[in-house]
Structure formats: C-alpha cells, structure tokens
C-alpha cells in the first residue's frame, strides 16, 4: 500500500513539474485547422511574420482562450495556463523577432468619423458591419494563392483580445503578405486611423449581444422525429416521393444495418434513405468543409411493435458544433427541408 501511495505521489509530482510541450499541444489542438507548419487551412495562417511580429503574447493567449464565437475558432478553455504559454511559445518559434509588449493604452478617436472612413477604406474586405470575409478552408471556398480571409472585426473574441494600440498599428502599417495594406500609405492621417480604431471598438456592445445569442437557444432537440400513421413500406414510399418533390436526388435506400451484419440478415424494420441536392451541398461545403461529417442527407424509418417512427438529425442543433455563423442559413434551410419531408410523408 505504501509503495503504491509513493508511486502515486511521484506520478503527480512528475506531472506537475513537467513542462508542457508546445509543439505537441499545437499538433493535437491547432494543426488540424492551422496546418502543421502554421500556413493555414480551415483556419487562418499563423506563421506569417507580419502577423506574429505585430501581436503580443497576451493577444495570442486571449485568442486561444476565448476563441472567435461564430467564426470557427473554438474557445480552448480546457488548456491550463502553462499549456497556453507553451503553445504561444511554439507559435513564436516561427519568427526571429521578439514578441511586442502589450500596450493597453486607450485610443480616443471620433467613432462617427471613423465609421465613414471604415466604409470607404475597410468595408470592402471586412464587410459593412465588420463581420469579415466569407468562407473558410482552402478546399472549396478559397483560392490556394490567397493567404488569408479578412477577419471579423466585430467579433467579441477578437475585440476582447486586440488592444487599441494593436488595431492602430495594424491599420497604420498593414500586414505584409496579406491583402491588408498600410492605411498611412493609402493616405489616411494618424487622427483618421484613431477614429477608425474608435469605430471598431464601438462594435463591442453588438459583438457581446451576438455572442450571447450564439450561446443561447441550446434547447433544440438533437433530432427531428415524428410518428407515421402508415406502415413501414408505405412510409418509405411516401418519403421517396417527398424527397423528389423537394428537388433532392435519392442516392439509395438501404437497411440501417447495411455493412454491419451479413447481407440478408439485416433488421428489415430499420431503413435509411440517403439523398442529396448537389448544388446545395457544394454551397454548404464552400462555407465550411467540415459539414461532411453529417452527409449525405438521410432519413431513418424504424418500426417497433407496429409503431413507425421517422427521424433525421436536427441541422439547427448540429450547426452549433461548427461555431460558424455562416452555416446558420444552410442549417435553417435544411431544417425546413427535413421538417417538410417528414410532414409530407406522414400526413
């Protein structure tokens, strides 16, 4: 017993004193989106010298900790402070220059004037309301020679991470290797830039409301499920007709246990209909290439003790997994499609 207790204490001590390995943490938590070498993918490129040399360690830590609500980057609240520091240190290994010190000075410009300037100089890339560029990932939505999508400036996570001075410096000097050019070179004065910083900062309240909205509405059921008044075969036939009526292509109808058990021994009371609208699918994948994990569209029909139930995933609920508000309209549309299918087939 004493030996085991000593081993346990030694184990805990070793764990507590072992410095986390930033490269390993990065590989596990970050590389799937940002690339093994930080050159980007589903996520933005991090290894750009002009980015790393202009943001403080605190900015990176806050970004990792808080994420970007609705913009794919999740909040890594599971990482310890030591792990967070290790990840940031790993990011720093991609630049020869030391990290700039964080400067929390408040810049007091004229937000009203800044709004006018924003519309003229920033809106084209960052959007009318600062919601950033569209799409993610190089697979479908982004040409491979484009280094970055314009970030959402009105995002609560961004505004909580970026200081006024960081915003000012980025606007002033731009980011080499990205479409973000120096606004000083473009003809703006330092006062103009301060005004734009104040306008961006004024987006904070709306950003917080948007974040709250994303966090809320989590009570939706994970499935859309209805009872059918028809028997299984008739329900399946109705669904096939409804799928065609909705301009979807029926890919196949199979037993749910297909591939799980020997052919011919499947439970004949469990059927899945797979279907697709390729135009819609392509658009959704362009917005977020990860949506494939719930593809293709599917309705399941199950008969239990004479009771027939029809169900689908609830796209509205699953949409939250992606932390990508651009997907919302597609999830809403698919929710309507699924609901209509189920309603039409069971009327």
């Amino acid at each position: 017993m004493r030996i085991i207790a000593c081993l346990f204490i030694a184990f805990l001590s070793a764990n507590a004193s072992a410095a986390p390995h930033g490269d390993e943490l990065y590989a596990r938590h970050c590389s799937s989106c940002h690339g093994n070498d930080g050159k980007g993918g589903v996520g933005v490129p991090l290894a750009l010298p002009s980015f790393l040399d202009s943001v403080s360690d605190e900015y990176l830590q806050k970004t990792i900790r808080q994420g970007r609500p609705g913009r794919i980057m999740p909040a890594f609240d599971v990482l310890s402070d030591a792990q967070l520091t290790a990840v940031v240190k790993h990011l720093r290994s991609w630049s020869d220059k030391p990290a700039p010190k964080e400067d929390n000075s408040v810049i007091k410009g004229n937000a009203k004037k800044g709004k006018v300037l924003f519309a003229k100089y920033c809106m084209q890339c960052h959007g009318e309301d600062g919601s950033g560029g569209k799409g993610t990932g190089v697979t479908f939505s982004r040409k491979r020679d484009l280094p970055i999508i314009a970030p959402a400036l009105n995002n609560a996570g961004f505004l909580a991470s970026a200081t006024d001075v960081m915003l000012r410096d980025t606007i002033t000097y731009g980011r080499e290797g990205t479409p973000m050019t120096s606004m000083l070179v473009a003809g703006l004065t330092e006062t103009d830039i301060d005004d734009i910083v104040s306008y961006i900062r004024s987006m904070e309240e709306a950003a917080e409301r948007s974040k709250q909205a994303l966090n809320g509405n989590g009570s939706d059921s994970p499935v859309i499920m209805v009872d059918s008044p028809y028997d299984l075969d008739e329900t399946v036939a109705n669904l096939k007709q409804a799928i065609t009526d909705q301009n979807f292509t029926l890919i196949r109808t199979e037993y749910l246990e297909h591939g799980l058990v020997e052919e011919g021994k499947e439970n004949k009371k469990q059927v899945a209909l797979h279907f697709c609208n390729f135009g819609f699918l392509f658009k959704a994948l362009s917005v977020d290439p990860r949506v494939g994990m719930f593809l293709p569209c599917r309705v399941t029909v199950i008969e239990n003790d004479g009771k027939v139930q029809v169900s689908t995933i609830n796209p509205k609920r699953l949409g939250k997994l992606f932390n990508n508000h651009e997907l919302d309209e597609y999830c809403d549309e698919m929710y309507e499609v699924y609901s209509t299918l189920l309603e039409d087939a069971t009327l």
Binding site: P222, M225, G259, L260, Q270, M293, L321
Partner: protein
C-alpha cells in the same frame, strides 16, 4: 485489492488517459496524401474493432454533377452489437448511427473530422450506457493518434 488501492490506480490511469480537446468536434491533420491517409484510417478503425459499413464518395457525386472539388469521402463505422443495442433501446439515436468520419484533402495534407461521440450521450436515459460513448470517444482519439503518428 483494497478499495483505496483500486481507487488510486483508477485515478492514475485516468490521469494518463486524459486527452484535452476544445469542444464537441474532433479533428486531425496528416501530411499523408489522401489515399495513404484513407488507408491509415481504415486500418486503424479495423484494429480498434470497428467495421466500416460504407465509404460515401462525396467528391464523385459532386464532380459528376459538374462541381469542382478535391477528394472528399465520408466513412461510416461501428460495432454491430453496439449499434443494434443502442438503436433498439434508443430509436432516437438512429439518425446518428452508425457514426461517421469525414476525410478530405486540403492541398497536400488530409484532414479528418468527426463529431465527438460523447455528444450522443445526451440522447440516452440510462446513464450506465454512457460508457459506450466514452469508449468510442477514446477510440476516436486513439485512431486520430495513429493517423498523426503516421507522419513521424
């Protein structure tokens, strides 16, 4: 074994097995090209005792309809007895069974993504069944580790 000794060992083992993640979506990137990554995935999935019930070729469907796309497949995986048990007990889970893993090319790399199986546990009423999803979650981490380690 005395209870306290057993508890300590369980605590030690669970500390070793702890894997951190940001949320309910699990992803991994590999520098393997798509065909090699797909082979590594299928090999590892089978080694973990799961059957591959189907590989949906999303890219073939898209290109067939005139849309330009890189390699994109969805792999359905599961253990027959577990899937049958779960759907029999919880028909509400049918829409999510068998679980699926997306695999797609991203430039020279390949990315894999799946929902964390633990999210399905919210649809069960018997807490003793949660262990199934916890094991699936652990297996996904292990499969993704195999894929990551194939780069080394």
């Amino acid at each position: 074994m005395k209870a306290i000794t057993r508890n300590i060992l369980v605590l030690v083992l669970s500390s070793v097995a702890t894997v951190l993640h940001a949320g309910d979506m699990l992803m991994v990137r590999t520098q393997q090209k798509f065909p090699e990554a797909m082979l590594t995935l299928q090999t590892s999935v089978k080694e973990h005792g799961y059957a591959i019930t189907r590989v949906q070729r999303i890219d073939i469907g898209l290109t067939g309809m005139g849309y330009e796309t890189d390699k994109y497949r969805v792999v359905f995986v599961g253990k027959p007895e577990e899937i049958q048990y779960l759907i029999g007990k919880y028909p509400v889970l049918a829409a999510y069974m068998p679980p699926q893993i997306s695999i797609f090319a991203e430039e020279g790399d390949t990315v894999l993504v799946t929902a964390n199986p633990i999210i399905y546990a919210e649809m069960i009423t018997d807490e003793s069944d949660r262990v199934i999803f916890q094991r699936w979650e652990s297996d996904v981490y292990s499969v993704f580790d195999d894929i990551r380690e194939a780069d080394e």
